[in-house]
């Protein structure tokens, strides 16, 4: 029996970036309205694929992250009235997502300076959510046959903001958790320059990172690359990036560095030696390592 798949979608909702994205000076202007309508069609396609497919949507807003929709729990009491021309679960998603995003945007108000988007917060919440549904409480242990138990969790990040170098360490930590949970992180870069960290996230979790070139064809990109669960990706290929920026951010100034320096003492205690990115990296040789407080031998 085919298993249900779970999709966690993280939408980057930075008002500034979306404003820039909608500018007509872009080659393919994309406003958040068009973006949402295409995204909702994609989400409906995910729900349509299988009755048991589950869906969670998180929004990364300036300074906070919120749960916009969850197919397993009802966030608001007002169930939209039935109408004879639409399938109720689709309608629930659409109205819930749009409504919540409107509310959140209204609540932002006038700000002097927009705080950076809490993308990491949203990713972490998504990870926690998946951890919860993939490891059901012990009372129901043994219902391995339950089709509602998720076997193929995925996270899809729709990013518009540039890299936030201060979030390097939390992002790397999130990637390691994702690897442990054996889930896939897909990234769609809808607007703005390539982000180094998300490229690494997709690469390290065997997901796909797509830079949206034709932004008017968003829906087709989403469906071709991100709709299929991992079992199908073994048959129908999905595009992966051909070159990945593996650069790390240094621990001292949070700059992305080409050449990094690693403490020779605490290196040995690092868990993820192979991945070479959980190391404490500095942009210049330091006499005393800021992580382990030991004098290092400067070559």
């Amino acid at each position: 029996m085919e298993k249900a798949s779970h999709l966690s979608v993280i939408i980057d909702l930075s008002p500034t970036q979306w404003h820039l994205s909608a500018q007509t000076s872009n080659q393919y202007p994309l406003s958040i309205e068009t973006f949402l309508s295409q995204l909702l069609a994609f989400l409906n396609a995910h729900i349509a694929s299988k009755h048991e497919n589950s869906l969670v949507i998180f929004g990364a807003l300036p300074g906070k992250s919120v749960l916009l929709y969850s197919s397993t729990e009802l966030l608001s009491d007002d169930v939209p009235s039935l109408d004879a021309n639409s399938y109720l679960p689709f309608k629930l998603v659409d109205s819930a997502v749009v409504q919540r995003i409107m509310n959140e945007f209204d609540a932002i108000g006038e700000l002097e300076e927009e705080p950076p988007c809490a993308l990491v917060g949203a990713v972490t919440k998504a990870l926690c959510y998946i951890n919860r549904i993939t490891h059901p409480s012990s009372t129901t242990a043994g219902v391995a046959e339950d089709p509602s138990i998720v076997h193929d969790p995925r996270i899809l990040i729709l990013s518009v903001s540039p890299d936030l170098s201060s979030s390097y360490i939390p992002i790397m930590n999130a990637i390691f958790s994702a690897q442990k949970l054996a889930l896939t992180i897909d990234v769609c870069k809808v607007y703005g320059p390539d982000t180094v960290f998300l490229q690494q996230a997709a690469h390290l979790t065997n997901g796909s990172y797509i830079y949206l070139e034709r932004r008017d064809a968003l829906l087709q990109y989403l469906i071709m690359s991100f709709l299929s669960p991992t079992s199908i990706r073994k048959i129908l290929a999905v595009p992966k990036q051909d070159k990945i920026d593996f650069r790390a951010a240094c621990f001292c100034h949070k700059n992305i560095v080409d050449i990094g320096f690693v403490c020779s003492v605490c290196l040995s205690s690092t868990h993820y030696l192979l991945l070479s990115c959980d190391l404490a990296v500095f942009c210049q040789p330091l006499p005393v390592c800021s992580t382990c407080r030991l004098a290092t031998l400067v070559p």
Partner: protein, 483 residues
């Protein structure tokens, strides 16, 4: 005792077994299917019945305005997925979802617009069912009552089947159901008297409720063809039910005459609930709303049935025991403990075990040679017994690996092999050959044709199959004629 390599039934079924409805749909004409695709709810339901690769392909093509060249699409296919991809395309062509073409790939325009409309909403086809306003005077049926109703109906049918051979007199289902059971060959009346369960009926009982339901509905569809009912209306009504929301009431007003007539039948099967037969509204039960999903269509009768949240979204609750139907503990000493008070489950178990004791919530029995042979005699296969025990195993059993004790599994299979020591085949015996050379010459020819079942060199005779006879006879005649 011959030791056979027994295959392990616990392995996950590879690939997606095609849904039983698909062959039926494929046998329909293109016009029928195109008419069916005019309704968005039908498109959505059929889409869900398809395998995962077909679904992905349809989605890839859904939003394209122009046709895609077949080479472009196959460029996405990895070498090891080639076969799966080809068979997926065959399925789509068979259903007339994608016209057969080696060059271009595109969706049937009717299907495309239907599925697009299903996903985006809108239009005015009303194919997802017209809901009724809340009735202030009468409370609409809640989910628990609907579940109880569906369960009661369904178990009445099964219980009737299972106890028909035992001289008991359970509640009879309605005439329509009885006719359907008889038509489908699950039951028949041998002596013109009461209906008796057949061997395919016994096999039917061990299937999962989902399979049972579709099995009966397929028969219903075949019957509908004979009753001159419009197949498109019948199918689209079933698909509409499958997209409806559990616990709501829908209006019968927009239904066609055929569909109103169907309501009565579906009520008997437990798919639809109505307050009165003349009522202007109906509610689908869980049997109907899970038609296109793989979640259990029936709440297990001894749990409270609250496996889903009562929010009406059809969302599956996270930690509840939706599949906690397991109640059987099987020990290596062939003892079976079944934690159930359900007479139907007891009766089904009784098909292949010897009952020892019965308690209010527990049945204890033994798998014995006699009991299993009785079941095998009824036409139930060893694999069916094992798969029934596997699917209904108690959660405690799930900690074991393999799930069922290997000794018991093997023994059940060996008991089955015991019955198959004799194999019969129709054919012809060729004997009294004039000379040994003659005999060998004919035998060599027959062996070439691969029609020899048995040979005896000393007695100069051999036995050939029925279909090989004409050739062998012709050969002998030609030979004797030429001499």
């Amino acid at each position: 005792m011959p030791v056979q390599s027994l295959k392990n039934t616990d392995v996950i079924v590879p690939q997606h077994a095609p849904h039983p409805l698909l062959p039926f749909l494929q046998s329909q004409s293109q016009t029928t299917l195109t008419r069916l695709y005019q309704r968005p709810s039908s498109c959505l339901s059929i889409f869900r019945l398809l395998g995962p690769i077909e679904r992905q392909l349809i989605m890839n093509l859904l939003w394209l305005e122009s046709a895609l060249s077949a080479a472009t699409m196959s460029a996405w296919v990895l070498p090891e997925g080639k076969n799966a991809y080809d068979s997926a395309l065959t399925v789509m062509t068979g259903l007339h979802i994608a016209p057969n073409s080696a060059v271009k790939l595109a969706l049937n325009p009717t299907f495309k617009s239907g599925l697009r409309q299903a996903i985006t909403g809108g239009g005015n086809t009303g194919s997802f069912g017209v809901p009724t306003d809340k009735d202030a005077k009468r409370q609409s049926a809640n989910i628990e009552n609907l579940d109880a109703y569906a369960l009661e109906r369904w178990e009445t049918i099964l219980h009737y089947m299972v106890s028909s051979g035992q001289g008991q007199n359970p509640t009879k289902p309605s005439q329509g159901v009885l006719y359907l059971l008889q038509r489908s060959g699950l039951m028949n009346n041998v002596h013109g008297a009461a209906l008796q369960i057949t061997s395919s009926g016994f096999q039917f009982l061990l299937h999962s409720p989902h399979d049972q339901l579709w099995n009966l509905l397929l028969q219903y569809l075949h019957m509908a063809e004979e009753r001159q009912m419009d197949l498109v209306e019948v199918l689209s009504f079933l698909f509409m039910l499958s997209t409806m929301d559990l616990g709501r009431e829908y209006s019968t007003e927009p239904l066609s005459e055929t569909q109103k007539a169907m309501l009565e039948d579906l009520r008997d099967y437990g798919l639809v609930w109505q307050r009165k037969t003349s009522s202007k509204r109906f509610s689908p039960t869980r049997l109907a709303t899970t038609l296109t999903s793989s979640s259990p269509p029936l709440p297990s009768s001894h749990s409270t049935g609250g496996s889903r949240m009562a929010d009406g979204t059809g969302a599956v609750a996270l930690s509840s025991g939706a599949a906690q139907q397991g109640f059987i503990v099987l020990e290596t000493n062939y003892r079976i403990y079944a934690y159930t008070d359900n007479p139907l489950q007891t009766a089904v178990l009784n098909l292949f075990i010897t009952m020892k004791y019965r308690f209010p919530n527990l049945v204890v029995g033994m798998l014995t040679r006699e009991s299993v042979r009785k079941a095998l005699g009824n036409g139930i296969s060893a694999d069916q017994i094992i798969s029934y025990l596997t699917t209904h195993a108690h959660p405690q059993m799930r900690k074991n690996n393999p799930l069922l004790p290997v000794t018991v599994q093997d023994q059940i299979r060996l008991w089955e092999l015991e019955r198959n020591r004799l194999k019969s085949a129709e054919g012809y015996l060729y004997k009294d050959f004039a000379s040994q050379a003659d005999y060998e010459y004919v035998l060599a020819y027959a062996k070439q044709l691969d029609v020899v079942l048995w040979e005896n060199m000393a007695k100069r005779c051999f036995f050939g199959t029925l279909d090989g006879h004409a050739n062998v006879r012709g050969f002998i005649e030609r030979r004797t004629g030429s001499v």
